[in-house]
Point group: C2
């Protein structure tokens, strides 16, 4: 196994066990069996390392968006969107530990924000991709053309992100499946 | 000024300055000019103290919900909902520092979750209140009766919560006002 992969694995495990504040580069390097100097050779900082965990070790949002795009024009729109909502819910639930750790640490957030700006990436981009997919379904006549696709995408992703966070605080009454079907239902109603 | 209020003020300031991980009871007590023992006489733990900051020092969601309820049946539904969405966005933006700090700290979250379960409260309750208000507008014929009020409330609150979090990571392209109007528009369209 390559050193880089061992470091990302060790970082993922450390975050799960100790929270992001406790996931020090010292602890991660020790667990990966390398020096802190070698860790910093692979990752310029904690921000880059945590981003690698997010992008490479979590159930990603990208594949779920790709599946939804490929299902465009086929099958039942509501069923496709519901499957996507459940995947987004799972992603946000697993990403919450890292995302909240970054947000709770002002200096880590400053570095993270600069890194995102430099690479032109960001956690808002999946909303834009989802809006594109909704527009394609509208052009195909499978989704109400009067719906604002951008706003609908904001609401669908936002509802999943919010629910993922809420589930850490309280036991939510409704099952995820029932909830996702109702959410999607507000978008596909005619 | 009562000791309790001085402690809550000091906690709010410490969280803003050092993040929740750096807002130690020692630092808060020193800033409030009291002993840690006295702090613990007023608050059984950091969880209770941080909840007090959330409930007593942030622009609250409660008053915004009350305003929306009182505007029921009057004025323009879309304008009322847009005003509420902007208030929710402001609340979630200011609450993000504490919420993420709690979520990022596994032991703090365990205590917080137990405290919420004991008091029957939780961050999901505003969704239920908003759904009740939407239902009243449906009964009054001012909102499409075919809309699932619970799902709509989930999406409106979720979109605000998500955007509040996104705004920490990236500069969002659209102005809040434009965004809120589009979000509300997907719910009030006929």
């Amino acid at each position: 196994m390559r050193t880089r992969d061992r470091i990302v694995d060790a970082a993922e495990q450390a975050i799960r066990e100790f929270g992001i504040a406790g996931a020090t580069t010292r602890r991660i390097a020790r667990q990966a069996g390398c020096s802190e100097a070698l860790l910093y050779k692979h990752f310029p900082g904690k921000e880059a390392l945590f981003l690698a965990v997010l992008l490479e070790r979590l159930p990603a949002l990208g594949p779920a968006l790709t599946r939804l795009r490929l299902s465009g024009g086929q099958g039942d729109v509501a069923a496709n969107l519901k499957e996507f909502a459940l995947a987004a819910l799972e992603f946000y639930t697993r990403a919450a530990g890292i995302a909240s750790g970054v947000l709770a640490d002002p200096s880590l957030m400053t570095g993270f924000r600069a890194m995102l700006a430099e690479t032109g990436s960001g956690p808002h981009l999946p909303i834009l991709s989802l809006a594109e997919i909704l527009r394609a379904e509208q052009r195909g006549g499978r989704l109400d053309a009067g719906l604002d696709a951008q706003a609908a995408a904001s609401m669908l992703m936002g509802a999943c992100f919010h629910r993922a966070n809420l589930s850490y605080y309280v036991d939510l009454p409704e099952a995820d499946e029932t909830w996702a079907a109702a959410i999607v239902g507000t978008l596909v109603r005619r």
